[in-house]
Amino acid sequence: MTARPSIEELEEEIVENFSLFDSWDEKYEYIIDLGKKLPALEDEHKKDDNKVRGCQSTVWLVAAYKDGLVEFKADSDAVIVKGLISMLIQVLSGHTPDEIIQAKLGFIDRIGMTTHLAQTRSNGLAAMVKQMKNFALAFKLQNESAKH
C-alpha cells in the first residue's frame, strides 16, 4: 500500500509527458497511441446500460470495487476519446471512492484539452468524469450502508 501514488502525482506525470510535445500533432499522436493500447472491453460489457451519454462517439464505462479501491475499465469506438479515457483511468483507477470524488483533475485543463477540443467534445469528457465520480459515490454509499 505504501507505494500507491496519489491522483495529483499521476496527473503530474501526464502533464510532464505532455510538456515534451511541441505541437498538437504530437499530442494527438500520443493520445491516439494511448487509445490503441487501452485493452478492449469484453463484449458483455458493451451494452446500453454502460454507455456514457453526451459524446458523439460511443463510450462504455464499467467500474469494480475491491479492497476499498475502485477499478475502472472503458472502451470507445473512437480512438481519440479512448485515449482520453485511458488517461482518466490512469489517474483515477485504484483509488478510494473519496479520493475519486474529491479529485479536481486540473490536468485536463493544463494539457490544453478543454480549450483544444470543441465544446461538444469536451462535454463528452465532462460526461465521462461525471460518470466515474458517480460510480465512486455509489460505492461509497454502498459501503456506508453495509457498515450500518
Partner: protein, 414 residues
C-alpha cells in the same frame, strides 16, 4: 482536367473570397479551410455591412410608425420579401412568410395546416433522408391526431425508392414532406415528379429547400409544390432569417399560428379578426435586421448567377469525388447521379469523430456525426459520416488540402 479548368474560369473565386472576411482566418495556426457549408455558409461583406448599416442608419419597428425611419425599415423589410419571391419564383409576394428559418417554417405548417387538415388514420409521407426538422414536427401532429408518419425508403445509392413512393402514396396520404436536396448525401430528389404524383391523389407537398436554395435555381411555380421552406443562413444570409412559401389559397385557408401584434385586423373581447397575408403569420416584431440583410445575400448570389454557381460547384464536386475515391478504405455514402456539392463518407476502421478532430487540428472544418438524419444513418448501418460540403468560395486547393489532411489523419489513426 478539361472540365476543371473550364469551371474554374467561370468566375474569379479569389475576388469572391475577398468578399468573405472570415475566410482569412487562421484556425489552430493554419489557414481556415471551411468545408461545412451545408451546416451554414459564411457571410459576404454585403450582408455584414448591410446589418451594420441597418442598425446605424434606419433601425425602427416596421409597419407601425409613420416617421421616416419606420418607413425606411418597412420598405427594406418588404423589399426583402420581394427578393425572396423572385429568388424562388413565387407568383405573389404575400405567399412569402418570414420565419426564423426552415425549422420554424415547417413547424408553422405542421401547427396550422396539418392540425386542421390531417385527421385520424391519415398519412404523412416523408423520406428516409429527411432532416429531423422535417420528421419531428409531423410526428408531433400525427400523435395528436392519430395519423401516421411513413418514410419513403432510400436506396443503396442514396436515391429515393420511387417504386415504394408510388406504392406508399394512397388516398390516405394527406401530405408529402420531402427534402429537395439531402444535407447528408447531397441527393437531389425529383420533387417536381413527386408533386405531380401527389397532386393526382389530392395530397399536398412541402419541399424542404434548406439545401437546394443555395445551390440550385428554384422555381416553386414550376415545381408546383404547395409549400417550400428555406433558411437564410444557408444562403449566405444571417442566422434567424428564412421563409415559408405557401400557395395563396392554402395560406388563406389555414388557421392562424401565433397570436399577437401585427397579425390582427381588429381586437376586441367579443371578436378578434385577423390580418391578411402575409401578416396573418407574422405575429409580433419580426427579426427585422436579419430579414432585411437576407436580401443582400440573395442579391449577392444573383449578382454571380445561380447557373454559374451551380456549374462551378459541380466541378468541385466531381473533382473532390474523384480525389476522395483514391483514398484507400474510403467509401462515399450517397452516389446519386444528381447531387449538390456535398460529400459524405466513411473510412474503414476510422471513427468520423477522430477524423473531425484531426482535420480541425489542420484548420479544416468538416462536419462529423449523423447530421440530424439519424434514420438515414441507421439505413446505412453507420453511426455517422464525415461530410465535406462546398460553397461558391471553395477552391480546388482547399479540396487538395482536405485530401492531404485526410490521408495523413487516416495514417495516424490506423
Amino acid at each position: 482536367m478539361e472540365t476543371l479548368t473550364r469551371s474554374e474560369l467561370l468566375f474569379d473565386v479569389d475576388s469572391i473570397r475577398e468578399e468573405f472576411p472570415i475566410l482569412k482566418r487562421m484556425v489552430k495556426g493554419k489557414p481556415l479551410v471551411y468545408l461545412d457549408n451545408a451546416a451554414t455558409t459564411q457571410k459576404p461583406l454585403a450582408v455584414i455591412d448591410g446589418l451594420t448599416r441597418y442598425y446605424s442608419e434606419y433601425n425602427a419597428n416596421i409597419h407601425r410608425g409613420i416617421h421616416s425611419l419606420a418607413e425606411e425599415a418597412t420598405a427594406a423589410f418588404e423589399a426583402s420579401r420581394d427578393a425572396v419571391k423572385e429568388f424562388i419564383g413565387a407568383a405573389h409576394r404575400e405567399e412569402i412568410i418570414f420565419t426564423r428559418g426552415a425549422t420554424e417554417a415547417i413547424n408553422l405548417v405542421a401547427y396550422t395546416w396539418a392540425r386542421k387538415f390531417v385527421g385520424a388514420g391519415d398519412e404523412i409521407l416523408v423520406s428516409g433522408m429527411e432532416h429531423h426538422s422535417n420528421i419531428v414536427p409531423w410526428q408531433i401532429i400525427a400523435e395528436e391526431k392519430g395519423a401516421k408518419v411513413i418514410p419513403i425508403p432510400v436506396l443503396e445509392d442514396g436515391t429515393l425508392d420511387m417504386e415504394a413512393f408510388q406504392r406508399l402514396l394512397t388516398e390516405k396520404t394527406k401530405l408529402v414532406a420531402i427534402v429537395h436536396a439531402s444535407n447528408s448525401l447531397g441527393t437531389i430528389n425529383p420533387v417536381k415528379y413527386i408533386v405531380e404524383q401527389a397532386h393526382v391523389i389530392g395530397a399536398k407537398v412541402l419541399v424542404d429547400g434548406s439545401q437546394s436554395a443555395v445551390h440550385l435555381p428554384i422555381d416553386v411555380q414550376d415545381i408546383d409544390c404547395d409549400f417550400f421552406v428555406f433558411s437564410g443562413h444557408k444562403v449566405y444570409g444571417p442566422t434567424g432569417s428564412g421563409a415559408l412559401y405557401g400557395k395563396k389559397a392554402l395560406l388563406e385557408a389555414m388557421p392562424v399560428f401565433h397570436g399577437g401584434g401585427e397579425m390582427i385586423k381588429e381586437v376586441s373581447f367579443d371578436r378578434t379578426t385577423y390580418n391578411e397575408l402575409p401578416y396573418k403569420y407574422e405575429a409580433g416584431t419580426p427579426n427585422i435586421a436579419d430579414t432585411v440583410a437576407l436580401k443582400f445575400a440573395l442579391d449577392f448570389v444573383n449578382g454571380i448567377g445561380k447557373e454559374k454557381i451551380h456549374q462551378y460547384e459541380q466541378g468541385l464536386l466531381a473533382y473532390a469525388t474523384d480525389a476522395l475515391e483514391q483514398i484507400k478504405g474510403l467509401r462515399i455514402i450517397g452516389k446519386a447521379p444528381e447531387k449538390t456539392s456535398v460529400i459524405s463518407f466513411v473510412v474503414e476502421g476510422v471513427h468520423p469523430q477522430d477524423l473531425g478532430i484531426l482535420l480541425d487540428n489542420k484548420g479544416i472544418a468538416v462536419r462529423t456525426g449523423h447530421h440530424c438524419t439519424q434514420p438515414l444513418m441507421d439505413r446505412f448501418g453507420i453511426p455517422g459520416t464525415t461530410r465535406a460540403s462546398f460553397a461558391l468560395y471553395t477552391t480546388y486547393a482547399e479540396i487538395d488540402a482536405l485530401v492531404a489532411g485526410l490521408e495523413r489523419s487516416i495514417k495516424t489513426l490506423l
